[in-house]
């Protein structure tokens, strides 16, 4: 079972290395969106500090939607999804492998880039640290929840828009607690409560999302 998880994870990472556009599309989108706000709003440091957590988190949320549509669509088109469905392994484990790879490819680079981008908003070191931790906890949840949407819209025309419509509302709690953690840290309230909530959301998503995704895949692939 664990071998199958690793096999899928390794396969998707190799594929990502051979076709790097996915990684860079997501990352550049995130960098550009986050950088546009200071340019558009102007160099008023007080305003920038105020909007920073929200802007970074919304950008991360939208960026993580970009590659979602392709999460299962490529496997569906070339027939490897059928093999996964018929493999003598729990489908949810294979799904988890795919989601892990998806997060490593699209989520992790964005998390690592965030503190650098946060400098444009004059965030303190302490706030940058909280931003990093909140993204580190929150983006896996975005990938996990997004996978459900990607599986549900598999094989539909115009699936991309539909994924966003399905998934974005479900991601609101992650957004609230993620951005909230940074705001709380900046205002001196303490970020721990928000981070605990984020952690709880990730655990819940880790438990339920692979099951929901595999059920959705079975229906979509018929």
């Amino acid at each position: 079972m664990f071998e199958a998880y690793l096999a899928i994870l390794k396969r998707d990472l190799i594929l990502a290395v051979r076709r790097r556009s996915d990684v860079f599309t997501t990352l550049f989108f995130f960098v550009i969106v986050v950088s546009l706000f200071p340019l558009g709003i102007g160099p008023e440091l007080k305003t920038l500090r105020l909007i920073a957590p929200g802007v970074v988190w919304v950008a991360a949320l939208l960026a993580s939607m970009l590659a979602l549509e392709r999460l299962f669509a490529v496997d569906y088109a070339d027939g490897t999804l059928e093999q996964m469905l018929l493999a003598p392994q729990p489908l949810s484990v294979l799904v988890l492998g795919k989601v892990t790879a998806h997060w490593l490819i699209t989520g992790l680079p964005l998390v690592l880039m965030a503190p650098l981008l946060g400098l444009q908003y004059d965030l303190s070191i302490e706030a940058l640290k909280v931003l990093l931790i909140s993204l580190l906890l929150g983006t896996p949840a975005l990938s996990l929840i997004g996978a459900i949407g990607a599986a549900l819209t598999l094989g539909l025309r115009g699936g991309g828009v539909l994924v966003s419509l399905l998934v974005l509302p479900l991601c609101i709690p992650v957004l609230i607690f993620g951005a909230g953690a940074v705001e709380a840290s900046v205002s001196g309230l303490g970020e721990v409560g928000h981070l605990y909530m984020l952690g709880a959301i990730v655990l819940l998503a880790l438990l339920l999302a692979p099951l929901a995704t595999s059920a959705a895949l079975r229906v979509s692939a018929e």
Binding site: R11, I14, E82, Q83, L86, A87, P88, P90, E222
Partner: protein, 211 residues
């Protein structure tokens, strides 16, 4: 032993077949035939569990294949219209990954041997996107050489293959049958496998299929 009991499949609002029953014993080959759109692919996908039949069930050694779940899929290998290979990966990588997924990991050497046997010598480590249609098909079919599944479900396995490869695949299928395996097959090509001692199932003439 595979038993299909009163199977019914509806696609859209068309009933493709209903009350379809047959059984397949070790060492038997079932040749499905029928005109385009008569439900051959649907039947195969329903047997291996990709499609939920509207009614009826598939039994493996007397137990429902749905209940057996992974114990059943372990015994089945399905080759459909799509080759199930990744364009960016080489033949070796494709074969090894699909074997790892199927729960029977193979060594790199075994993968090289299998691909050489299926006639891809010299192309084993090229990304499959540079291969021809027939060569891709061969990569997809190479799973049959290393897999230990007892039931093979092959949907049009001979398409895109040249004469030599068709001959080779027939010998592989023949060997599997002789070793007590089971094969369900569709093909529009006349091959020696579909003559003589095989079960035949015609779909699409009447409402009911029959052996």
């Amino acid at each position: 032993m595979l038993q299909v009991v009163d199977l019914e499949c509806v696609r859209g609002d068309r009933r493709l077949f209903s009350e379809l029953s047959f059984e397949l014993l070790p060492g038997e080959l079932l040749h499905l035939y029928g005109h385009n759109g008569s439900g051959k692919t649907t039947l195969m996908r329903a047997i291996c569990g990709l499609i939920q039949p509207t009614a009826g069930e598939v039994l493996w050694n007397g137990e429902s294949s749905r209940k057996l779940a992974e114990d059943f899929t372990q015994e089945v290998i399905y080759v459909g219209h799509k080759n199930g290979i990744k364009d960016d990966l080489s033949g070796i990588e494709n074969l090894r990954i699909s074997c790892a997924l199927d729960g029977c990991p193979i060594s790199e050497q075994q993968a090289w041997d299998a691909l050489e046997e299926i006639g891809l010598r010299g192309q084993e480590d090229l990304p499959t996107q540079v291969l021809s249609q027939g060569q891709k098909r061969r990569v997809g079919l190479s799973r049959l050489l290393v897999h230990k599944a007892r039931l093979w479900i092959l949907d049009e396995p001979f398409t895109a293959l040249d004469k030599a490869a068709v001959g080779f695949l027939q010998s592989v299928i023949r060997r599997h049958i002789d070793q007590g395996g089971m094969v369900i097959l569709t093909t529009h090509q006349e091959v020696t496998l579909t003559e003589g001692q095989v079960k035949r199932l015609q779909l699409g003439w009447k409402e009911e299929g029959h052996v």
